[in-house]
């Protein structure tokens, strides 16, 4: 079975209109996005009230590292999207490998993030050192918690793909949707924390 689906040509899969994953996950996506957006509004408002102090603290961030973080997470979103495509095509071995690659990219993101936190703390930038750093550590930590939960979702994907009796496409799509949401939040966090002036 395993070798058969690994070598088979990708069958034609008709794209029909359907909600990817469970509808409940989409309520979560919308709700969480609005929660994060609300926090960004608070951050942006306070930033405009003391731009000089925020800019000074922001200059401690490593923008090229932030760009690498973002590309790593975008790549993980790409690989889990390909994983879903392969699941729909019945190529479960390839899909499982891509889910593992996604988890690996997520781990690289976390290592880079922790490295940045450690560097900042060593340079004296902590949660209480400035208003900007308070927002920075809070937002990036909240995001990191979502990434950790994402590892659980990816674990469910791998587990489901390992067992032919558990390969429900809807569950796999739901977990993939969660992982993409982690990417969505980071795209916004990166812009407001690293780029906004």
């Amino acid at each position: 079975m395993a070798s058969a689906d690994a070598t088979a040509a990708e069958p034609v899969v008709e794209e029909v209109a359907h909600v990817p994953g469970e509808a409940d996950m989409w309520f979560f996506v919308v709700f969480e996005t609005l929660v994060f957006a609300s926090y960004f509004c608070v951050y942006l408002y306070f930033r405009t009230q003391d731009e000089r102090a925020f800019l000074a603290a922001q200059s401690a961030l490593d923008l090229p590292l932030g760009v690498v973080d973002t590309i790593v997470l975008l790549s993980s979103s790409w690989t889990i999207a390909r994983c879903v495509q392969l699941v729909r095509a019945g190529r479960y071995d390839g899909a499982r490998q891509l889910a593992l690659v996604t988890a690996g990219l997520g781990a690289v993101f976390m290592v880079l993030k922790v490295t940045e936190w450690v560097r900042l703390v060593h340079e004296g930038h902590t949660f209480t050192s400035s208003d900007f750093m308070q927002h920075f550590f809070f937002l990036t930590a909240m995001h990191a918690i979502h990434v950790v939960i994402g590892f659980v979702a990816l674990g469910i994907v791998v587990h489901r793909l390992m067992n032919p009796q558990r390969r429900e496409h809807e569950t796999i799509e739901t977990c993939a949707t969660y992982w993409h949401t982690v990417d969505l939040f980071w795209v916004l966090i990166f812009a407001v924390l690293y780029i906004v002036r």
């Binding site: 990708e10 794209e15 909600v19 989409w26 996005t33 973002t70 790409w78 993409h180």
Partner: protein, 97 residues
Amino acid sequence: METSAKTRLFVAWLVLVAITVMYLWLDRSADDSDVVVANTAVTVTAIFLALVKFRIIVREFMGVRHAPVLLRRLTDGLVVVIAAALLGTYLVGRAVA
């Protein structure tokens, strides 16, 4: 069909990476010297580009492009709401500062 879907995903990823790298140029274009200054054009562009990326991820990676019209409208509406909230807050904040 599968091949074209695969190619489409790759192109989406490529566009997302290109926009991300553009941020480096955007950041450097704002300063004439090493002094970092507040810049409304950079802020508005950064938020706009982030929302472009947001929509690409939702439509291409999350598969909303093939979703029922309700979900497509809902996610597009979400982008508009976020854009209005973020840009509105920033511009009002600057006006009252």
